[in-house]
């Protein structure tokens, strides 16, 4: 009886859907309920700050910029008279970003991260280009594992003398509203790692770091016209 068999197969399908009728929904009501994001989820790009000092971890080595497959990161950090980099501009275009996480992997200083935050839509596509302040603000409460090698230890050793000088300054800044302090710290930032660099105890550490990063200190990354030679490249690859 083919007809009866078909009929019961139809009924079987209906019992399956009917059974689901009484079950709980597996979806959630988004704006009210939010999913617990995984720790590794790659969302918005942020800049991380030092847990103690609150300054950017970024050393302006430009590795993230070079690792980015979509040219979403733009860094402008010319050198000052002491041949140290001064951060002028750090922009991430979230509209260009493909959230691949290569910048995070390229970074040796735990400075950039794809945080597990996802609510950053805007009305205007231009608002998706975040400057350093915004990147740092959003990144302040992002937990991360500090993988900076040696530096923290060296810093701790070199710190005390410096801390005092810094403390004074921050005490003076303390009275100012936070927004201004951000700006202030941004302005100060480049000078901060510089200070540690000059400390005698630290002399060797940066050199080692540079090697590991395989970006030499003499790089001038901005001049697009000058191609870097293939030979140079191989050397670095081998290093």
């Amino acid at each position: 009886m083919g007809v009866l068999k078909d009929f019961f197969n139809l009924l079987k399908g209906m019992t399956i859907t009917g059974k689901h009728l009484g079950r709980r929904a597996v979806t959630i009501q988004y704006p009210e309920q939010k999913m617990q994001m995984f720790e590794r989820s790659r969302g918005v790009v942020v800049l991380l700050s030092d847990k103690e000092t609150g300054d950017l971890n970024c050393t302006m080595c430009m590795l993230c910029m070079r690792a980015c497959p979509t040219a979403a990161i733009y860094i402008d950090a010319p050198r000052d008279e002491n041949k140290k980099r001064v951060l002028k501009e750090f922009k991430v275009d979230h509209a260009l970003c493909c959230y691949c996480g290569l910048c995070e992997e390229a970074c040796n200083f735990s400075a950039i991260k794809l945080a597990n935050k996802y609510e950053f839509s805007t009305w205007d596509i231009d608002d998706l280009v975040w400057d350093v302040n915004k990147l740092q603000d959003v990144g302040r409460d992002v937990p991360y594992v500090d993988t900076r090698k040696k530096k923290p230890a060296a810093k701790a050793a070199a710190k005390p003398a410096e801390k005092k000088a810094d403390d004074k300054k921050s005490a003076a800044d303390g009275a100012k509203p936070s927004a201004e302090e951000n700006k202030q710290s941004e302005g100060d930032k480049p000078s901060e790692p510089k200070a540690t660099d000059t400390a005698a105890a630290d002399k060797t550490a940066p050199a080692k770091d540079e090697k590991a990063v395989d970006s030499s200190p003499d790089e001038t990354p901005e001049s697009d016209e000058t191609r870097r030679s293939a030979d140079d490249d191989t050397k670095k690859g081998d290093a």
């Binding site: 430009m62 910029m65 070079r66 497959p69 040219a71 790089e219 001038t220 990354p221 001049s223 697009d224 000058t226 191609r227 870097r228 030679s229 140079d232 490249d233 670095k236």
Partner: protein, 158 residues
């Protein structure tokens, strides 16, 4: 048939029509002369021992110096793989179609014609394919192709 046996068989069967390229890998890669292309392809397909009945991939390449067309073949029943390619040095590059041997080549050849400007003789339908119908800006996969809105990644100095 192992790769070595395949090499030996092909050398025996085709002689200098198929030149083995040194790629350093197990799977053999051959170079074929443009004039022999269709014949070689047909005998690869028809040969009882080889039976390359399955066209994996076909496409053009611009190495910067010359254009190449590569063919990746497989045999379903004999379970072999073979690659061969043809170098095009002509100003007006052109290859014979292999559509009659592997119907699958149809779209691949159309794509190649469109993106590399390699003419395919005997193809039944060389019309715009991936690009817009009114495309008139040349063959974009060529290395020297450039267009005002084509953005390359910024070059970094070492």
């Amino acid at each position: 048939m192992t790769h070595d046996e395949l090499r030996a068989y092909v050398a025996d069967k085709f002689g200098d029509k198929l030149t083995l390229l040194d790629t350093g890998r197990a799977e053999p890669m051959y170079e074929v002369k443009l004039s022999d292309l269709h014949d070689v392809a047909e005998s690869l397909r028809k040969d009882e021992t080889l039976q390359f009945d399955y066209l994996c991939n076909l496409g053009g390449t611009d190495t910067g110096e010359r254009l190449e067309v590569h063919y990746q073949l497989a045999s379903i029943y004999k379970n072999n793989r073979i690659d061969f390619k043809v170098m095009l040095t002509d100003d007006k590059p052109s290859v014979p179609t292999v559509q009659d041997i592997w119907p699958a080549a149809n779209w691949y050849e159309r794509e190649m014609w469109e993106l590399y400007g390699i003419n395919v003789e005997g193809h039944n339908n060389l019309t715009r394919f991936l690009l817009p119908d009114d495309w008139d800006q040349g063959h974009p996969m060529r290395k020297d192709w450039d267009a005002p809105d084509f953005i390359r990644l910024p070059e970094f100095k070492g």
